[in-house]
Amino acid sequence: MSIAVRDLVHIYHPGSPLQTRALDGVTFEAEKGSWVAVVGHTGSGKSTLAQHLNGLLLPTEGSVSVDGIQVRHGEGSLRLVRQKVGLVFQYPEQQLFEETVFKEVSFGPRNWGFQADHLEKSVEEALELVGIGRDLYEASPFRLSGGQKRRVAIASTLSSDPDYLVMDEPTAGLDSPGRRQLLGLLSDLKKLGKGIIHITHDMELALGLADTILVLDEGKSTLWGPPGVILGELLERDIRGLVIPDLVRFAGRLRDLGFEVPLTWEPKALAEAIGRSHGR
C-alpha cells in the first residue's frame, strides 16, 4: 500500500506566456506507516507536488497512483483518492468556517457520507488525537487561540480517517511547544499506520524525523533515500536554497581533517564518537 509517483511533470498555464514547468520529473514512493519528508527551497515545486497526491492537480505527464488507483478524471477515482489522502494546506486555520468546533470537524466525514454514529465517533477521535477537549466542542472555531485553530483544522482532516496525510509546512508560524506537540502528533499518526508526507524547507526537521527524504530542486527529484544515506551527498552537492544543519557541516569538516567520526545530525552520536577517539 503506497502512493507512487512516476516521472511526474506539471506545467502551469501551458501555451501561455506564463507557462512554467513547476515539476520536471519527480519519482518517489510513500508507503503506509512511514514518514516521508519532501524538502526543497521556495519555488522548488513542493506545494505543487503536494496537490498532486490527492488529485487537486492532475499530472501533465507521468502518473500518480494511490494504493493502485490512478489519480485521474472519471470513475469517481478522484473522490476515492481524496478520501484516502488527507491534504492539510499551509495555515489550515484559514479554512475554518463552521459555527462550532464539532461541526467544523464533521464537515469532512459528512461530505464523504459517514453515517451518524460513525461520524460522531471519528470526530471525537480526531479531536482527541489533536488534544482538543470536550469543553470546546460547542465553541466557535473563530474564538480559539492560534494554536487551537491549527489543531482543529488538522482534526478536520483526520476525522475523515485518511490513510495518508500530506502536510504542507504544518509547523509554520507555531511557537516551539506548538511545534513539538504537532510533530508528536504526526509521530503518533505514523504509529497508527498512516503514511505521513511532510512538506518542509527545514532539513534539520526532516533529518530528525523522516524515514525517507525526497529532495526537490527546480521541480526535479534530486535526492531520494533514508537520511543517513543521502546525508553524504547532501553535504557534497550543497543544493541551492537548502540549509544543511550546522552539526552536519561540523561533522563533515571533522572527517575532512581525518577524524573518525560518523556523518550525523545527532549531537549525542557525534559527541560520543569524538569521545571514543580520545579514548573515553
Partner: protein, 271 residues
C-alpha cells in the same frame, strides 16, 4: 480542474511606448472624446477613419494585436447579439429570408454599424487600460476630479479606494483558489447540483474568504496609519503627474480628429 486562473482584470501591459508615456489625464479625457466621436459616426467613411486611427494607436503603443483583440473577448457575445438583433429586426427592403427570419438591406447596414461601433468602443477603452497602469488611472482620475473637492467630493479617497481594490484583486483570487482547494480536499463538492445547492456549497469558501478580507483590511489600515497616513491633505507624490507639450499635442490631435471624423462622416451620405 479549472480554477480561477484565466481572469484578466486591469490588464496593463508594461512596455515602453509613446502612448504609455502620455499623461493619464490626457489619455482619459481623449478617450472620452473618442468614444463620443465613435458614437456619432454612421457611415463607412467615419468608421474607416476611426479604424485607421485605432490601428495607428495600437502600432504606436507597441502592444501585441492579439492582446488588444482579447479585450473584446469578454463581451463578444453582447456584440454578436446586438448585431444579430439589428440584422433580423430592422424593417425595410428584404434581401434574404429564411423561415420567419428576414434580413433587410437596412438590417445589414444597422448590424454592421452597431457591431463596429461596439467593437471600437470596447477596444478604445481597452487600449486605455492596456497602456495605463491602475495606479496611473487612479491618479489621473483623482486629479481630474480634484476641482470638485471644494463641493466636498472625496476625490482622493475614491482614488485611494480604487487603487487598493485593484491591488487586492489578484491577492484575493489567489486566496479564493487556496480556500476552494482546501475545502475540496475535505470532500466539498463545489460544482454539483442546481444553483441553490451550489450557492450553499460555496458557504465554506465564502466565510473564510470574508474573514481573510476583513483581516487584510485591518492589517492594511494599521500599516497605513503606522506610516502616518492621514488622508489626501498635504500629501505629496512619488511620481507627480506632469503635463507636457506632447500631451497637449496628443490631446489636441484626438480632439480635432474626433470633430473631423464626425464632420466628414456627416458630409458623405450613405449609398
Amino acid at each position: 480542474m479549472k480554477f480561477l486562473n484565466n481572469m484578466t482584470l486591469g490588464q496593463y501591459v508594461p512596455v515602453e511606448s509613446p502612448v504609455h508615456h502620455l499623461d493619464p489625464r490626457c489619455k482619459i479625457v481623449a478617450v472620452l472624446f473618442c468614444l463620443v466621436g465613435i458614437f456619432m459616426v454612421r457611415g463607412p467613411l467615419g468608421f474607416t477613419m476611426w479604424g485607421l486611427f485605432f490601428l495607428a494607436l495600437v502600432g504606436a503603443s507597441r502592444i501585441p494585436a492579439r492582446l488588444v483583440l482579447s479585450t473584446v473577448k469578454p463581451v463578444w457575445i453582447l456584440v454578436a447579439f446586438t448585431a444579430a438583433i439589428h440584422l433580423f429586426f430592422t424593417g425595410g427592403e428584404p434581401v434574404f429570408s429564411w423561415g420567419i427570419l428576414e434580413v433587410t438591406r437596412e438590417g445589414v447596414v444597422m448590424a454592421a454599424r452597431m457591431g463596429l461601433r461596439l467593437m471600437l468602443l470596447i477596444m478604445f477603452a481597452g487600449l486605455l487600460t492596456l497602456t495605463t497602469s491602475p495606479t496611473e488611472l487612479a491618479d489621473g482620475l483623482e486629479s481630474l476630479f480634484s476641482p470638485f473637492r471644494r463641493f466636498g467630493f472625496p476625490s482622493h479617497e475614491l482614488a485611494m479606494m480604487m487603487t487598493i481594490a485593484l491591488r487586492f484583486i489578484p491577492t484575493l483570487l489567489n486566496e479564493t483558489e487556496r480556500i476552494m482547494k482546501a475545502q475540496i480536499a475535505r470532500g466539498a463538492e463545489l460544482e454539483r447540483g442546481g444553483p441553490l445547492k451550489r450557492l450553499r456549497a460555496f458557504i465554506p469558501v465564502l466565510v473564510p474568504l470574508f474573514v481573510i478580507v476583513f483581516q487584510r483590511a485591518d492589517d492594511l489600515a494599521t500599516a497605513m496609519e503606522a506610516r502616518n497616513y492621514t488622508g489626501g491633505e498635504g500629501r505629496t507624490r512619488m511620481n507627480p503627474l506632469q503635463w507636457t507639450t506632447g500631451d497637449s499635442a496628443a490631446f489636441a490631435f484626438s480632439l480635432l480628429f474626433s470633430f473631423a471624423a464626425v464632420f466628414l462622416d456627416g458630409r458623405v451620405t450613405l449609398p
